[in-house]
């Protein structure tokens, strides 16, 4: 290998990234000794990469903005913190749904999709910041929900059940939108409701999807497809979910 062996720009970058085949390293190193301007340039690229790694790797957790306490948009609706409680639920949510569908226990593909999406929506609730909807009235929530689902809804305060609405979120779908409501119980337990508009739908029985400690229930009601997910025992979630649903939309 000689100093004059042609060295490509790609090889210089591969050398910088430790991706260069060993056989080419002597040639590149010789080239860089003879071309200090390229050596300096690689050094600058290395420093830029290190800065990206240092700043972008460590900034993400701290930069999640706390929601302001004043009015905020529906679109940027709250995420639920409860990192530790939800973390366990996240694991179970995927496992529960995957396990259930793996056994093909739900044949209705649309309800399967609904359950997938409800579980996924639950999965995403690992952001920081539990913040009540301080300025969003139930009337405003109802209006937004009706608009998103294309179905007129009129929410009522479910707090008599021991659960409060602490978050809401519009979920864009390939076709249409869904609405997720996040509920918090007296013991700080979190459950999520997930709704899609389903004009013409009639009441169906509730189907239960459960794994080791987390349950998703899916059903249809008049003009709605619904799912509820929570880290409660299946029977408990079924009882609680029905109670909240009646209070909320009954």
């Amino acid at each position: 290998m000689t100093v004059n062996t042609p060295i490509s720009e790609d090889e210089l970058h591969a050398y910088l990234d430790g991706e260069l085949p060993d056989a080419r390293r002597p040639a590149v190193e010789a080239y860089l000794r003879e071309h200090p301007e390229d050596a300096r340039r690689l050094g600058v690229y290395r420093d830029d990469g290190a800065a990206i790694k240092r700043i972008f790797s460590h900034g993400v957790a701290a930069t999640h903005p706390r929601r302001p306490s004043g009015p905020r948009s529906w679109r940027s609706g709250p995420t639920v913190s409860r990192r530790h409680a939800v973390a366990a639920a996240l694991i179970l949510a995927v496992g529960a749904v995957a396990g259930w569908f793996g056994r093909e226990r739900i044949n209705d593909t649309d309800m399967e999709r609904l359950a997938h999406q409800a579980a996924a929506a639950h999965l995403i609730l690992n952001g920081p910041g539990v913040e009540p909807l301080a300025t969003s009235s139930l009337g405003e929530l109802s209006r937004r929900m009706s608009s998103a689902l294309g179905v007129r809804t009129e929410l009522r305060d479910p707090s008599g059940t021991g659960y409060k609405i602490v978050g809401a979120r519009i979920v864009p779908l390939a076709k249409g939108r869904a609405v997720q409501l996040v509920m918090r119980g007296l013991a700080d337990e979190t459950i999520t409701f997930y709704f899609e508009g389903r004009p013409g739908a009639k009441e169906t029985p509730i189907r239960r999807i459960a794994g080791n400690g987390l349950t998703t229930l899916v059903w249809e009601d008049d003009d709605l497809a619904c799912a509820i997910t929570g880290a409660l025992e299946p029977k408990k979630l079924e009882e609680v979910g029905r109670r909240i649903y009646e209070a909320l939309l009954g």
């Binding site: 700043i55 972008f56 790797s57 701290a62 529960a96 995957a98 259930w100 690992n126 007129r152 009441e203």
Partner: protein
């Protein structure tokens, strides 16, 4: 709407326990969520949009988990889904004329950085946002996720030669932006024809 009080629900099925392989996949997917959220955030510069993108990614992953042939490649598989969804969203946003909230995000990133890095963080956030999405993706995967060339190629569905040439171009353009040279980016592809 006429949502009525619900009669006592009929329980159709007793739920089976999830099997071990599904549980293992679940644990693995959950372990990747912080990385997915971080990557989405730096693609979109918006926490809310990043959350939506990751949610879509998880939905898609759950829906087609059977297509994951090799669980050792879960991360690349998830990142590939996320990046594809991001590009779809980007095209949709472009049609709606949406732009990255660069300054807000630059301020946020700077505020989270140590004092000695704040100016650098702000400059980097601005410069990265001005890169083409292809260049931003590759710099993030390489530097933040610490991917090797082959992993980047697998994730982005590119030949490794394209990854290498794109990386060289991305570094050069980032450096130019950091030195204050504005670059013309056409259709977000940034000279992609020369990558092949």
């Amino acid at each position: 709407m006429g949502v009525m009080a619900v009669d006592p629900p009929e329980l159709l099925e007793q739920a089976p326990p999830s099997d071990a392989s599904d549980d293992a996949l679940a644990v693995a997917i959950v372990a990747e969520l912080p990385r997915l959220r971080r990557h989405a955030l730096y693609l979109l510069y918006s926490h809310a949009d990043a959350d939506d993108l990751v949610q879509d990614c998880i939905e898609a992953a759950l829906s087609k988990k059977a297509s994951l042939q090799d669980h050792a490649k879960l991360r690349s598989w998830l990142f590939s889904i996320l990046n594809n969804l991001f590009l779809m969203r980007l095209r949709s946003n472009a049609r709606r004329g949406q732009a990255l909230p660069i300054e807000d995000f630059a301020d946020s990133l700077a505020a989270s950085a140590p004092p000695e890095d704040r100016d650098k963080a702000r400059d980097l956030a601005r410069a990265m946002a001005k890169l083409s999405v292809e260049h931003r993706q590759i710099l993030l995967l390489l530097n933040v996720e610490e991917y090797g060339y082959q992993e980047v190629a697998d994730t982005l569905g590119l030949p490794i030669g394209t990854v290498m040439s794109r990386l060289a171009r991305a570094r050069r353009r980032l450096r130019a932006l950091l030195e204050g040279h504005e670059l013309q980016v056409v259709d977000g592809h940034d000279g992609e024809h020369a990558d092949q």
